[in-house]
């Protein structure tokens, strides 16, 4: 509801300028300033405050004081022009319009599924190692959880091999969260490389991040760094990568998108790729 619009088109109603706000502000300031100087200042401030309140009140109630300002006729408003009226357009959509290949990709769901599947593979391989080398399924779990332990290097062997519910909880949380996150990444990025997604996700990526860990594990988790056997570790990461990659690729029919341009695979939204909204139904 804008009262201005009910007036004749060559006049606009605006709130009237008024001195009461500045008077009230000054009065309030003086009230406080009196605490720093003298009571007389506060007294003066109080008077101005009261005056300001009353004056302002009467500006607004019972009806707002306004002024009328002349406004030009609509037609005199300046035109909106640009020096670059042409726009480049991606031609992608037209080429695929008839092929009816589903453009929609759901990276998140596929990624989460892939990550969870991969987490199972990794866990199986790690626990297998634990049983074979140390006779305990809890060995790798506790090593992972030791990331938050101070002085973890002082933990005795028997401790690392036995069951601890809190450590299991911490390790599971870390394991699942990281797997989901990496799975999400797979869901998003594997479709961008439709030719050899499994090589990339199953082999190259795990080896890469294992390499990164190799250099930094000493500071991140010293106990794991001390006890880790890299061959098993890399194997478990590759296990994750292959399983997660397979699940993602299967879900998103990545291979069938080999002929799509990168822009589409990366989910770029632009005219030419996006469908035009129907003029009638658009109304948000």
């Amino acid at each position: 509801m804008r009262p201005h619009e009910t007036h004749p088109k060559d006049q606009v109603e605006l709130p009237a300028p008024t001195a009461w706000p500045v008077i009230l502000a000054f009065g309030l300031t003086l009230v406080f300033a009196g605490l720093l100087t003298s009571a007389a200042v506060s007294a003066l401030g109080a008077v101005l405050t009261l005056a300001g309140c009353v004056g302002w009140f009467r500006q607004v109630l019972p009806v707002q004081q306004h002024e009328m300002v002349p406004a030009p006729h609509v037609a005199e408003a300046a035109p909106v022009v640009t020096e670059t009226p042409d726009v480049a357009r991606m031609k992608v959509f037209r080429d695929f319009h008839r092929a009816r290949i589903p453009i929609e990709i759901y990276p998140a769901a596929a990624g989460v599924k892939g990550g969870l599947a991969g987490s199972v593979a990794m866990a199986v391989l790690a626990c297998l190692h634990g049983v074979i080398s140390h006779g305990s399924i809890w060995f790798p779990i506790n090593l992972l959880a030791a990331i938050v332990f101070q002085n973890s290097l002082a933990l005795p062997e028997s401790y690392i091999n036995s069951f601890h519910p809190l450590l299991l909880l911490v390790a599971s949380l870390l394991h699942i969260v990281t797997s989901i996150l990496v799975g999400l990444l797979y869901g998003v990025m594997l479709p961008m490389f439709p030719r050899r997604p499994i090589i990339l996700g199953g082999l190259i990526a795990p080896v890469l991040w294992s390499g990164l860990l190799y250099t930094s594990l000493g500071i991140i988790n010293p106990l794991l760094d001390q006890r880790i056997e890299w061959s098993w570790f890399v194997a478990s990461q590759i296990g994750f990568g292959v399983v997660a990659g397979l699940v993602v690729v299967r879900q998103q029919r990545v291979k069938t998108r080999q002929f799509m341009p990168l822009a589409v695979l990366a989910g770029i939204e632009a005219p030419g790729i996006l469908e035009e909204k129907d003029e009638r139904s658009e109304e948000k």
Binding site: E83, T84, D86, V87, A88, R89, M90, I105, P107, A108, G111, I147, V148, F149, Q150, N151, S152, L174, V177, T178, L181, V182, L184, L185, G187, V188, M189, P191, M192, Y214, T215, S216, G218, I219, I220, N221, A266, G267, I268, E269, A270, P271, G272, L274
Partner: protein, 340 residues
């Protein structure tokens, strides 16, 4: 092992800041005590991670800033109007989340390691009381009090003898910061804190108050002497002794001036009737190499100047000018010079 290689590489990278001890006495990249070393390790990791992020993002920004500038031969059309990409958004959300997780977990571990370390029985206890603008050091195990210059024994990593500092304050907030020994911990009134150091090398380590505490916050300096066990024990023994009786002459006259002027209201000299707590304990004043918490070296001339008018060295310090006559000043100074 790998961590050593890494530390060497990182050290080479920061070689400008690597210790040339004499010239960079408060360099945080030259730790000699476990808390400082733990922080150092974490800091190198954090620097590396953020460094990599910086290089990647900086390159992308620079690339796009250069590659996508409008060419002189531009065709006058607007470029493709791209609204976004949920996939890319997801990717560059997930990767930072993973990075944050790793940084958080590593930091949490170091926090625990430093803050929740178990105190061994061999630890030395020192109670540090922060004052405006000087440090009081009490050694409850040995029964003496000193000021401004802390002595601790060196700690062998295989049989650690750390020093545990209990941090209190008599007035405002202060902060104990000797970078090569540990991160800083604040001294807050009514809020006791604790920190520990276990220096692996002997030597003198410098620091200063790191929390604004008033006018002379800048000159609340710290000197920590890390000594071999024998030297430390010898120092303790000397601190425990009361001063020898003063020989007659100027020194005795000075002691009379000292005891009849307000000095004894603020200062303590064990074995005498001076037991003020507002100012530093002067019993072993001459065992210190500086006065007024590092403001000036401890020489007879400076001592005389200080007592005459502290404002010349440390304007705003809480010791008033004592308005002594030049003769009284000489005598008091002579007396103080006997307090080894």
């Amino acid at each position: 092992m790998r961590s050593t290689t890494w530390a060497v590489l990182a050290g080479a990278l920061f070689s400008r800041l690597a210790p040339a001890e004499a010239s960079l006495p408060t360099n945080i990249f030259a730790p000699v005590s476990t808390p400082a070393q733990l922080v150092h390790g974490l800091s190198l990791f954090v620097l590396t991670v953020t460094g990599v992020i910086f290089v990647v993002v900086f390159s992308l920004l620079a690339y796009s800033a250069i590659k996508f500038r409008r060419r002189p031969d531009d065709d006058g059309r607007e470029p493709f109007q791209i609204y976004g990409s949920d996939q890319l958004e997801l990717a560059w959300t997930v990767i930072p989340i993973i990075i944050v997780m790793v940084l958080f977990l590593t930091s949490a571990r170091v926090i625990h390691t430093v803050q929740d370390a178990r105190k061994p029985k061999s630890a030395i206890d020192v109670t540090v009381v922060g004052h405006q603008f000087w440090w009081e050091f009490r050694y409850p195990q040995y029964g003496f009090v000193t000021a401004n210059e802390l002595h601790v024994p060196v700690s062998d990593p295989k049989h650690p003898t750390p020093t545990y500092l209990k941090l209190l304050s008599a007035d405002t907030d202060h902060s104990f910061w000797v970078p090569r020994l540990a991160g800083k911990t604040d001294l807050i009134p009514n809020h006791p804190n604790e920190m520990w150091i276990d220096p692996h090398e002997t030597g003198l380590f410098l620091g200063q108050c790191a929390q604004y505490c008033g006018t002379q916050h800048a000159k609340m300096l710290l000197r920590v002497y890390v000594q071999s066990r024998e030297d430390f024990d010898a120092w303790v023994r000397s601190q425990q002794q009361a001063p020898a009786p003063v020989s007659p002459g100027d020194a005795a006259a000075g002691q009379r001036v000292f005891q009849s002027t307000a000095c004894i209201n603020c200062h303590a000299v064990s074995g005498t009737n001076a037991n003020g707590k507002f100012g530093p304990d002067l019993t072993h004043l001459m065992s210190r190499s500086t006065i007024a918490s590092g403001a000036v070296p401890n020489t007879p001339a400076n001592l005389r100047g200080w007592i005459g008018n502290p404002e010349t060295f440390k304007p705003g310090s809480l010791m008033p000018a004592m308005n002594l006559t030049p003769k009284e000043l000489d005598e008091v100074t002579t007396y103080l010079l006997t307090l080894h």
